[in-house]
């Protein structure tokens, strides 16, 4: 294959990574932006989505495509409920104090990981894609499912965007983000908003996981990479800035696709993590954010 088509392939692969990453990172960005909670267990919500998708698709006695559609609906719901419980039972009682919540979400991370290991086992297990066809480009054939992932992720992101900017729920969320005391004074139930946002953030990670699991397999340790990459995206994009998060997801996903096609993946990760640390040190508002105060 020539360089041109090879680069195109790398870019499409990168676009798939970007799409899934954007979903996961927007979930993390929402919880940080609105609740000021750094959710270290976010990767485990992703893992929980993938693992529960395996259970749903292998237990439901219906055709694979239908089972997958059910998983796409049920798994985010299940993960969302788990997250809401974690918020109400743990984070709320800590008053969302930043350092305590990080320690607590580390604890939740271990609990969820152990639960998955006990129930699901240590093996990686595949989930069948709902459909299989190849789209033939002039130079190579490409999985139709992967292209569908890009479309689906874009649709969900558009939905989140509309929810936040065009609905009453979004208005209430934004009001809570800007000033939670004033919001409370206007009769907004801030506790419920927080629980909802935490659940929504986790559900977005779960949707991303269900979409990727036919490509990647479910495994109880699969949460680490999405967590790290989402952190990178959210920090580069500016903590709490949704638009920045999307741009950064596209940037990181594409460059990840291109870099890991041409270079060693470990080296790419080292450079990315160091870059994040340096961005936080020298430009804490992110590459795209406005300086805070």
């Amino acid at each position: 294959m020539d360089f041109g088509p090879f680069l195109l392939l790398a870019l499409i692969e990168g676009l798939v990574t970007s799409a899934v990453l954007a979903l996961t990172a927007v979930g993390l960005s929402l919880t940080f932006g609105i609740m000021r909670v750094v959710n270290v267990a976010h990767g485990e919500f992703f893992m929980l989505g993938a693992v529960s998708a395996w259970f749903v698709t292998s237990w439901l006695p219906v055709p694979p495509a239908l089972a997958f559609a059910a998983a796409l609906l049920l798994c985010p719901l299940f993960v969302g409920v788990v997250a809401v419980l974690a918020d109400m039972l743990i984070l709320k009682r800590l008053n969302y104090q930043p350092e305590a919540t990080i320690v607590a979400t580390i604890g939740v991370l271990y609990i969820l990981q152990q639960a998955a290991l006990t129930v699901f086992g240590p093996d990686a297990r595949p989930v069948a894609a709902p459909f299989n066809f190849r789209i033939q480009f002039p130079w190579f054939g490409y999985s139709g499912y992967k292209l569908a992932v890009i479309v689906a992720a874009a649709a969900v992101l558009a939905g989140v965007w509309l929810l936040l900017t065009r609905t009453k729920i979004g208005l209430v969320m934004r009001a809570t983000q800007i000033d939670r005391d004033t919001a409370r004074a206007f009769g907004i139930n801030v506790d419920r908003v927080y629980a909802g946002v935490f659940g929504l953030g986790a559900a977005l990670a779960a949707i991303a996981a269900v979409l990727i699991v036919p490509i990647q397999q479910a495994h109880y340790l699969m949460g680490a990479d999405p967590l790290l990459l989402s952190f990178i995206v959210v920090i580069i994009g500016g903590l709490g800035s949704l638009r920045g998060t999307l741009v950064a997801a596209l940037l990181i996903g594409l460059s990840d696709g291109v870099i890991s096609t041409f270079f060693a993946p470990t080296l790419a990760k080292i450079i990315a993590t160091l870059l994040v640390a340096l961005v936080l040190v020298f430009r804490p508002q992110g590459l795209f954010g406005k300086p805070a105060l």
Partner: protein, 315 residues
């Protein structure tokens, strides 16, 4: 003339005397455990100097621990240095890496500091994997038995190993006690309690925190180097994020900002996992539940609660 008895010093010397007595009294299995616990307690003490006293919640101490581990192990296997100087090299490596990280990371505070240290440690962990040609990555370095002795002291033998661990622990504990009761220790606590007021009084927060972090790194490096030489194995898993979380857990459990707390935390956690291990294989669950329960119900840890209720003078 009355002799003023230093109760706090006496109490900590008592702990050391107890551990020395256990050298002769403890059953073999627990004897071996205690040696490991003392080495890890030095690591936890280092973490406590940064987090418990200075208020620096780092999620990247595994990097400093690993600097000690690999500093000592590679000095021996690659550099051909004897174990004694290798220990010093490991300790120095921990301090230098901590100071270097601090120069950058201490420009941030709070959550950003946690993430920056986490990222640096992650980069360090990945670098160890990437340089597998020399570090042997996940498989790790095994230090040959013949190389693991300091002078006449054979550290592969249970007895000398316990005493060497006790010597390191004693030094760590007494220096820690002296440090936190020194004027500089008070300034460290001032940074934790109210950085702005300390700055107004003329202290330079960046400088104080940098020194505290470097001391913390020296402790972590010393513990790592001792771990490498005493137990003869160094692997990438010891540099993973879990080894950044563990000292935090130990310190929270034993009591942040207490001198003996880190030791108590390692001891309780070690045996908690050990006894939980006889009941269930779900050891991660124990760690997770312990973390959540601690922040929810006992944010001050064991010795922190004791200090609050009974012994106000406990350092």
């Amino acid at each position: 003339m009355t002799v003023r008895i230093d109760t706090a010093l006496a109490l900590h010397l008592g702990l050391i005397a107890l551990l020395l007595a256990l050298h002769f009294a403890a059953p073999d299995y627990h004897h071996a455990n205690l040696a490991k616990i003392m080495v890890l307690a030095v690591y936890a003490m280092g973490y406590n100097i940064a987090y418990g006293y200075t208020g620096l919640l780092s999620l990247g101490h595994a990097l400093f621990f690993a600097a000690g581990l690999y500093g000592a192990a590679m000095a021996i296997t690659v550099g051909g240095v004897p174990a004694g100087p290798a220990l010093i090299a490991g300790m120095a490596a921990g301090g230098i890496v901590a100071a270097a990280v601090g120069l950058l990371a201490l420009r941030t505070t709070g959550v950003a500091f946690m993430i920056v240290t986490l990222m640096f440690a992650q980069a360090g962990y990945l670098t160890i994997l990437y340089l597998g040609q020399w570090t042997r990555g996940d498989e790790g370095i095994v230090i040959a038995q013949g190389l693991r002795h300091i002078g006449a002291l054979d550290l592969t033998d249970e007895g000398p190993r316990y005493l060497a661990a006790l010597a390191l622990f004693t030094a760590g504990l007494l220096v820690n006690l002296w440090l936190v009761r020194s004027p500089f220790g008070r300034v460290m606590v001032a940074m934790r309690e109210n950085e702005d007021r300390a700055r107004m009084l003329g202290y330079n927060p960046f400088q104080v925190k940098l020194v505290a972090l470097a001391i913390s790194g020296l402790y972590a490096g010393a513990a790592g180097a001792a771990y490498a030489v005493m137990f003869g194995y160094v692997g990438a898993s010891l540099a993973s994020v879990q080894y950044s979380i563990l000292p935090l857990l130990w310190v929270l459990l034993g009591g942040a900002g207490t001198v003996a707390g880190p030791f108590l935390g390692v001891l309780v956690m070690f045996y908690l996992i050990y006894y939980a291990g006889t009941l269930t294989s779900a050891t991660l669950l124990v760690v997770g539940v312990a973390l959540v329960a601690l922040v929810l119900f006992a944010p001050k840890g064991i010795l922190g609660a004791v200090r609050e209720r009974l012994l106000k003078w406990l350092p």
